[in-house]
């Protein structure tokens, strides 16, 4: 069980949106995490490399800074089946780059642009993820 947090989630979501708007205003780019992270790898050593690196360092620093400022630990429950987590990582990395985006690039920025491609992509990854959780929790695990 996790607690339903409508207000915290709405406010946190608004911050994610604010970040996407700031990135568009400053860099003129979509805040797609898979696009930004994927271009940290070759052959993308262009002049925007420092920008992407800065964004990712900010992402990584966020929970640590949050803990430091609020004194509250960031609670998370991460799967402990390491081969499964590694396999999931491979799928997420491959699928997001091949599909040109993830939850942020398609799900937030794409839908906000009213892009049909992003709407289709978001529907597909949501439905497949829901089906996957149904199978692992209620067919295999149930």
């Amino acid at each position: 069980m996790t607690e339903f947090t409508p207000w915290a989630s709405l406010i946190g979501g608004a911050l994610i949106g604010l970040s996407a708007v700031l990135l568009m205003a400053y860099e003129g780019r979509i805040a797609g995490i898979s696009g930004i992270a994927g271009r940290l790898l070759p052959p993308y050593f262009d002049d925007a490399m420092l920008s992407r690196l800065g964004f990712v360092v900010g992402l990584i620093a966020a929970p640590l800074l949050y803990q430091l400022v609020t004194g509250a630990p960031v609670v998370q429950t991460v799967g402990s089946n390491l081969p499964l987590m590694a396999a999931a990582g491979l799928l997420v990395g491959f699928g997001t780059v091949w599909g040109n985006g993830c939850t942020s690039g398609h799900g937030v920025c794409g839908i906000a642009r009213l892009s049909v491609r992003s709407l289709v992509a978001t529907a597909v990854f949501m439905l497949v993820a829901i089906a996957t959780v149904f199978v692992t929790r209620h067919v295999i695990g149930g």
Partner: protein, 142 residues
């Protein structure tokens, strides 16, 4: 300077993930678990993020150019090809297995859960493999 501005923007994104609860894969998996311990929070994150981005993008696009770049790099493709189905489907499978999409996975690095440390390197391998597998669909500058 550009590095630091992007770091600050990434920090806002990461703090948004933490406050919204999306840094916790358990909360994401519970959103996807419609038949079980459903937690609707993720829908509120998406609503907050899309609303702010929708309005913010339209304000920002009134400027002739971004602050630090010569033009806005916004995806222009509108075709629905196999790539926009298959990529997100592969991503959705990995997302449903782990509860991690790229943003929360990167944000989790510093908290150093073993599952995260198995997931993130594999995600980068997957991203690299998707590029190596050939440009299908052609990598967009997102």
């Amino acid at each position: 300077m550009r590095f630091l501005v992007n770091l600050a923007i990434g920090l806002v994104f990461g703090v948004g993930l933490v406050i919204s609860g999306m840094s916790d894969p358990a909360k994401v998996l519970n959103f996807l678990d419609l038949a079980g311990t459903w937690d609707p929070s993720l829908a509120f994150v998406m609503a907050g993020a899309v609303a702010v981005t929708f309005v913010g993008y339209r304000l920002v696009w009134r400027r002739p150019t971004p602050i630090a770049a010569t033009r806005f790099e916004v995806p222009t493709r509108t075709d629905i090809d196999a790539g926009i189905i298959v990529g997100p489907a592969i991503f959705g499978l990995g997302w449903g297995l782990s509860g991690f999409c790229p943003g929360p996975a990167l944000t989790a690095i510093g908290l150093a859960a073993p599952g995260t440390l198995a997931f993130v390197p594999a995600m980068f391998v997957g991203m690299w493999a998707a590029r190596a597998a050939g440009a299908w669909p052609a990598p967009a500058r997102a």
